[in-house]
C-alpha cells in the first residue's frame, strides 16, 4: 500500500467504520424487535408452545432437523411439517410416538424419546405455532 495512505488512516477507518456499523446494526435490531409481533404472532405463544420449545431443546431436535432452515441437514425441515402432514397435530404426534426404539435396519430413523401425551401435544403445538410465523414465504414448497 502506498506511503500516502498511512497506518493512522487505516486505524481510523477501522474504529470509525466499525462504530458506525455497530450503531446502524443496533438501530435496525431495535426496529426489528418493534415490528416483530406482527410477524411472529406472539399472542399465540401458549404455555404449551413454551413447553414444546423446551422439549424441542431438551431432546436436541436441531441435531438432525432444520427449523426455518437452521440446524442439521440429516432429517426433514420442520417449520412447515404441520402443513406437510395435512395440518394435523395428530399426524405429528403419532409419528414421534411410534418410532421403533431399535431403529429401522439400514435406514435413518428418529430415536424413540418416550414422551408423555402432554409433551407430545406441546411439541406439536410448538411446531404448529412455528409454521404460522411470517418467514418470507420460506421454504419454497411443501417438501421443505
Amino acid at each position: 500500500m502506498s506511503e500516502t495512505f498511512t497506518k493512522t488512516m487505516a486505524r481510523n477507518i477501522f474504529y470509525g467504520g466499525s462504530l458506525f456499523f455497530i450503531l446502524v446494526f443496533l438501530g435496525l435490531i431495535f426496529h426489528t424487535t418493534r415490528v416483530l409481533p406482527e410477524r411472529d404472532h406472539r399472542e399465540n405463544i401458549t404455555p404449551q408452545v413454551v413447553l414444546g420449545k423446551k422439549l424441542w431443546e431438551d431432546n436436541n431436535c436441531i441435531g438432525c432437523h432444520t427449523l426455518m432452515g437452521e440446524g442439521a441437514y440429516f432429517a426433514p425441515e420442520l417449520a412447515n411439517v404441520y402443513q406437510r402432514l395435512g395440518e394435523s397435530k395428530d399426524a405429528i404426534i403419532s409419528f414421534i410416538k411410534y418410532r421403533p426404539a431399535e431403529g429401522v435396519p439400514g435406514r435413518r430413523s428418529m430415536p424413540q424419546f418416550n414422551l408423555s401425551d402432554e409433551e407430545l401435544d406441546a411439541l406439536a403445538e410448538f411446531l404448529k405455532w412455528t409454521s404460522e410465523i411470517n418467514d418470507g414465504d420460506w421454504p419454497p414448497n411443501i417438501q421443505g
Binding site: 500500500m1 498511512t6 497506518k7 487505516a10 486505524r11 477507518i13 477501522f14 466499525s18 456499523f21 446502524v24 446494526f25 435496525l28 426489528t32 424487535t33 416483530l36 410477524r39 411472529d40 405463544i45 408452545v49 413454551v50 420449545k53 431443546e57 431438551d58 431432546n59 436436541n60 431436535c61 436441531i62 441435531g63 438432525c64 432444520t66 426455518m68 432452515g69 437452521e70 440446524g71 442439521a72 441437514y73 440429516f74 426433514p76 425441515e77 426404539a101 431399535e102 431403529g103 429401522v104 439400514g106 435406514r107 435413518r108 430413523s109 430415536p111 424413540q112 412455528t130 410465523i133 411470517n134 418467514d135 418470507g136 420460506w138 421454504p139 419454497p140 411443501i142 417438501q143 421443505g144
Partner: protein, 462 residues
C-alpha cells in the same frame, strides 16, 4: 522463544490437536451415518455425533486461540506472562470441562443430561452449536475471563502493540458475544435473532480480528517485514471484516420471521464479506514475497498462505455462492450450507491455529525450525488435509445442487428422504475424502515425532 512463560502455550496446542483428531473421527462417523442410516443407532444417534463433532471444533479452536495468545502476547509486550500458573490452572479446568461435557453427550440421553445439569433452572441447551450444558457455558465464561485477565495484566505492564490491541478487541468481543448464549427467550424468532449474535458475530466478526492478529504476528516473525507495513494491512483487513460482517449478519435474517428489508441489507453486505478474506490472501502472499529474510521454518509460511487462500475460498467464494437472498431462498439449509461450513471453518480457523502451532511449537521445543525431514512430513499433512477438504466441499456442493434441484426447484418436488437416497453417491465420495483427511491428520501428528538434522538461522539477511 523470548520468555520462558510463553511455554504455557504448549499444553494448549497439544490439547487442540488431540481434540481436533477426535473431531475428525466423529466427522467420519457422521459421514457414514449419511449413507448407512442405522450405523451405531441407537447407541450414538446422528444428533449426538454431530454435537460432539461441532462442539469439539469450537473447543479445540478456542484452545488454539488461547495457546496462540499466551505465546504471542508476552513476546509482543516484551514481558513475561502475568501469571503462567493461572494459565495452567485454566488449562486443566477447561480441558476437564470439555472432556466431561463430551462424556456427558455420549453417556446419557441428551434430555437426561439437560435434566441433571439443571437446564430447567436456566435453559440454554439444545440450540445448534450451543448444546453445552449451562454449567459448561458458565465454566467457559470463567475460563475466558481468567484468560483475558491474565493477558490484560501482561499487556498493561508491557509494550502495547497494534497486534495485541487487535487480538484483545477480538478476544473481548468473543467473550461478550458468548454471553448472548445465556439469553434464550420463549419466542423462537427472538431466540434465533440473538443466537446469531453468538454464532455469526463470532465467526464472521470478532474471530476475524483474532485470525488477523495471529496472522500478522507470524508474518512479522517469518518475513522480517517492517511492523508499520504489517500493521497497516492488519487495520485494513479487520476494518473490512467488521464493516461488511456486522450488517452481513442480515444474511441470517432472511427466513426466520424477521422483516423483509434484511433480504436487501443482508445480501448487499454479505456479498462484500469476501473482501477481507481476499485481502488476507494478498497480505500473506505479498509479505512472504517481499520477505527480508529466509526463515528456516518454511512450512509455517505454507500454512500462512494456505490460510489466506482457503479462508477466501471457503468463507469468501463458497459463502458468496449462496448469500444473495434470491439464491438463498432455494439453497438455505441444504448440503450447500454444509459445504460452505466445512471449507470456511477449516480454511479460516483450523488453518490459522495450525499456522501458529507450526511457527511456535519448534520454538517451544528449543529450535528455530524443525528438521527438513519433519517439515516435509508436515507439508504432506498440509496437502493431504487441504486437498481432502477441497474434495469434501466439492462433493457436498454437488450433493447440494442436486438436492436443491430435486427437492426445491423443479415443478415436481420430491420429499426430503427420497432426495437423500439419490445423493448417496456423493455422500460416499465425501466419506472417502474424509478418510483422506484423517490420513492427513495422522501425517501431521507424525511430523511432530520425526527427528532429522537440526536447522539454524544461517541466512538471517537475504
Amino acid at each position: 522463544m523470548k520468555f520462558s512463560s510463553q511455554a504455557v502455550a504448549k499444553p494448549y496446542f497439544i490439547a487442540a490437536i488431540g481434540l481436533f483428531t477426535l473431531q475428525i473421527v466423529f466427522g467420519l462417523t457422521l459421514g457414514l451415518q449419511y449413507v448407512l442410516g442405522d450405523f451405531l443407532f441407537p447407541e450414538i444417534p446422528f444428533n449426538v455425533a454431530r454435537m460432539v463433532h461441532t462442539n469439539l471444533l469450537i473447543i479445540w479452536v478456542l484452545f488454539g486461540f488461547m495457546g496462540a495468545s499466551y505465546y504471542l502476547v508476552p513476546e509482543e509486550s516484551d514481558v513475561e506472562l502475568y501469571s503462567p500458573k493461572l494459565a495452567l490452572w485454566l488449562f486443566w479446568i477447561f480441558l476437564s470441562a470439555s472432556v466431561l461435557t463430551v462424556i456427558g453427550y455420549l453417556a446419557v440421553p441428551y434430555a437426561t443430561l439437560a435434566e441433571i445439569t439443571g437446564n430447567d433452572i436456566l435453559p440454554t441447551m439444545g440450540r445448534e452449536f450451543l448444546e453445552q450444558p449451562t454449567l459448561t457455558k458458565i465454566g467457559i465464561v470463567v475460563v475466558v475471563l481468567g484468560f483475558l485477565f491474565n493477558l490484560g495484566m501482561t499487556i498493561l505492564k508491557g509494550r502495547k502493540t497494534v497486534i495485541t490491541m487487535v487480538l484483545m478487541i477480538g478476544l473481548v468481543g468473543l467473550a461478550v458475544m458468548f454471553l448472548f448464549s445465556f439469553y434464550n427467550p420463549e419466542n423462537l424468532v427472538l431466540d434465533k435473532i440473538f443466537w446469531w449474535w453468538v454464532v455469526h458475530l463470532w465467526v464472521e466478526g470478532v474471530w476475524e480480528l483474532i485470525l488477523g492478529a495471529i496472522m500478522a504476528f507470524v508474518l512479522i516473525k517469518i518475513t522480517g517485514i517492517d511492523r508499520e507495513v504489517i500493521e497497516k494491512w492488519l487495520y485494513m483487513i479487520i476494518a473490512m471484516a467488521l464493516i461488511t460482517g456486522i450488517l452481513g449478519t442480515g444474511h441470517h435474517y432472511f427466513w426466520i420471521g424477521t422483516p423483509d428489508y434484511w433480504q436487501v441489507l443482508g445480501s448487499i453486505f454479505s456479498a462484500l464479506e469476501p473482501i477481507p478474506f481476499f485481502m488476507m490472501t494478498l497480505f500473506a502472499f505479498s509479505m512472504i514475497n517481499k520477505r527480508r529474510r529466509d526463515h528456516p521454518n518454511k512450512v509455517a509460511a505454507l500454512w500462512a498462505m494456505g490460510t489466506g487462500v482457503m479462508a477466501f475460498l471457503g468463507a469468501g467464494v463458497w459463502g458468496f455462492m449462496h448469500t444473495l437472498a434470491p439464491v438463498n431462498y432455494y439453497t438455505h439449509g441444504t448440503q450447500i450450507t454444509a459445504a460452505h461450513g466445512h471449507m470456511a471453518f477449516y480454511g479460516a480457523y483450523a488453518m490459522i491455529v495450525m499456522t501458529m502451532i507450526s511457527y511456535a511449537m519448534p520454538n517451544m521445543r528449543g529450535r528455530v525450525a524443525n528438521s527438513a525431514k519433519a517439515q516435509s512430513w508436515e507439508v504432506w499433512g498440509f496437502w493431504l488435509m487441504t486437498i481432502s477438504m477441497v474434495l469434501i466441499t466439492l462433493f457436498l456442493t454437488a450433493a447440494g445442487v442436486l438436492q436443491v434441484w430435486l427437492q426445491r426447484y423443479t415443478d415436481m418436488p420430491q420429499s426430503f428422504m427420497v432426495v437423500q437416497d439419490q445423493l448417496a453417491i456423493f455422500y460416499w465420495l465425501r466419506f472417502a475424502a474424509g478418510v483422506g483427511f484423517l490420513a492427513g491428520v495422522g501425517t501431521y501428528i507424525a511430523s511432530f515425532f520425526i527427528k532429522g538434522e537440526a536447522v539454524g538461522l544461517a541466512n538471517a539477511a537475504r
